[in-house]
Symmetry: C7
Subunit: 95 residues, 7 copies
């Protein structure tokens, strides 16, 4: 079963905290909103501009991304936690 | 009797919870807003851009979709619960 | 006496509850905002886009429509309750 | 003495309640915002779009109009109550 | 010493209440926001649209104008009360 | 050391109250927001419109300007108080 | 490991307070929001306009910048504090 995100939405699989710190990024424990690491599982086709033209996506399936903690809507697929969010909620691609 | 949604609105038939979990998606029981599964029964022609051109819809009749719990306006048609919502309230198409 | 709605506004005659349920639509008695059935009596010429071009209306006189309960401004014409609302407050055309 | 409204503003002379009911429109006494009848005394040249082009007005001097009760700014001219409001606050032209 | 207003701003000299009522306009003493009479002393070049083009001003130096009481920022020039406001805060030109 | 403001921002050196009143402008002591006099020390290149084109600035280095009291972010450069603000927070150029 | 900021976002390494004051900029201790000095470590490709065209970035890797204290989301990379923020949160480039 597949989820095909609409417009500029992406489906992201949340990565474990351990995996996050292994990569060298340590989330500071302050009151600030903490970014979370995930992997893009599916990306929408992009928004449609007011002139009817498609605005392509920047992220693609397989990208490791950093996103805001409170971004998106939670969905469990085959018992694994995923999030559907807008591309604009993604802060950066991790290379 | 038919409902023809206006602009970028869609008419969605809510699918039962049981049917939802059968498909492999388990809605997590957290405080987060939970997406709901439905089936598109009718889709509007799409928004009209500021230049008067039509912006076509992405979803079409028959699509199984995931949408936010609080999206749309409830309507009962022949005793079955439906919702009229904007396409942008739909998170993803389920394939 | 006639009312000619401005821009993207429409004049809608409210239809009776009884008539509503006859058509097969039963408004659910939940806390959600309930749509109301009406008939378009007059429609404006449509909005003018930022480039000065007219954006035509979708609904036309005689259309049976479903709209949000709190949409529009009430006017009584010859003792019959009407509403002036923007086309975007109309959810769907009933066929 | 004349007032020349700016942009998309219109100068409207408020018509008396009696005159309103004579025309067949009876303002319902509910909690909803009630529209008021008036006569356009002067209309601005219309808004200027972002591309510098003029967007012409729909109403013109002499039009009888229906507008929201709380629309506009009150001005008395030679002891007669007038209102300066944006064209978009006008609901419909009465013919 | 001169003030050259920026963009779509205008410099307006407030006219005295007496002068206002002489002209035939009597400000009603209701709770509604009351418009004030003034004279345009200097007008900016107009806004720059998103496409880089200038959108010219409607008012010019010497125009008598009516504006909302709470519009603009007060400045005293040589002991005379002036206001710097956006052209859109001006309701009408008095002829 | 230089600060090069970004986009449509300007760096303004606050001028002393005494200098302000010498120029003939007396800030009234009412509850209204009072404009402050300053000198433009550096101006950004201007905003980039949605079509990628530059929208040039109106103010330039050396201009004496009037701006709202609460505009901008304070920075001290070599012990002199400066402000970084958007050009739109500037009310007028003083000539 | 690298972070590639999305759209118009930049990755900024916070510079120490001491380094800030050495450069001649002294942050005033008022209640106003204080700007912070940092160094751009990575910059996104720029926003995509509604017409699908790229709007290039002004800042580039290596730029010393001044930004608002509460801008961005904190990320620690190899134990050094970084921030991911939109270019528009950057006030000025320090030369």
């Amino acid at each position: 079963m597949n989820l095909k995100p609409l417009h500029d939405r992406v489906l992201v699989k949340r990565l474990e905290e351990e995996e996050v710190t292994k990569g060298g990024i340590i989330i500071p424990d302050t009151a600030k909103e903490k970014p979370i690491k995930g992997e893009v599982v599916a990306a929408g086709p992009g928004k449609t501009g007011d002139d009817g033209k498609n605005i392509p996506m920047t992220v693609k399936t397989g990208d490791k991304v950093l996103f805001n903690k409170y971004a998106g809507t939670e969905v469990k697929i085959d018992d694994v936690e995923h999030l559907v969010m807008r591309e604009d909620d993604i802060l950066a691609i991790i290379e």
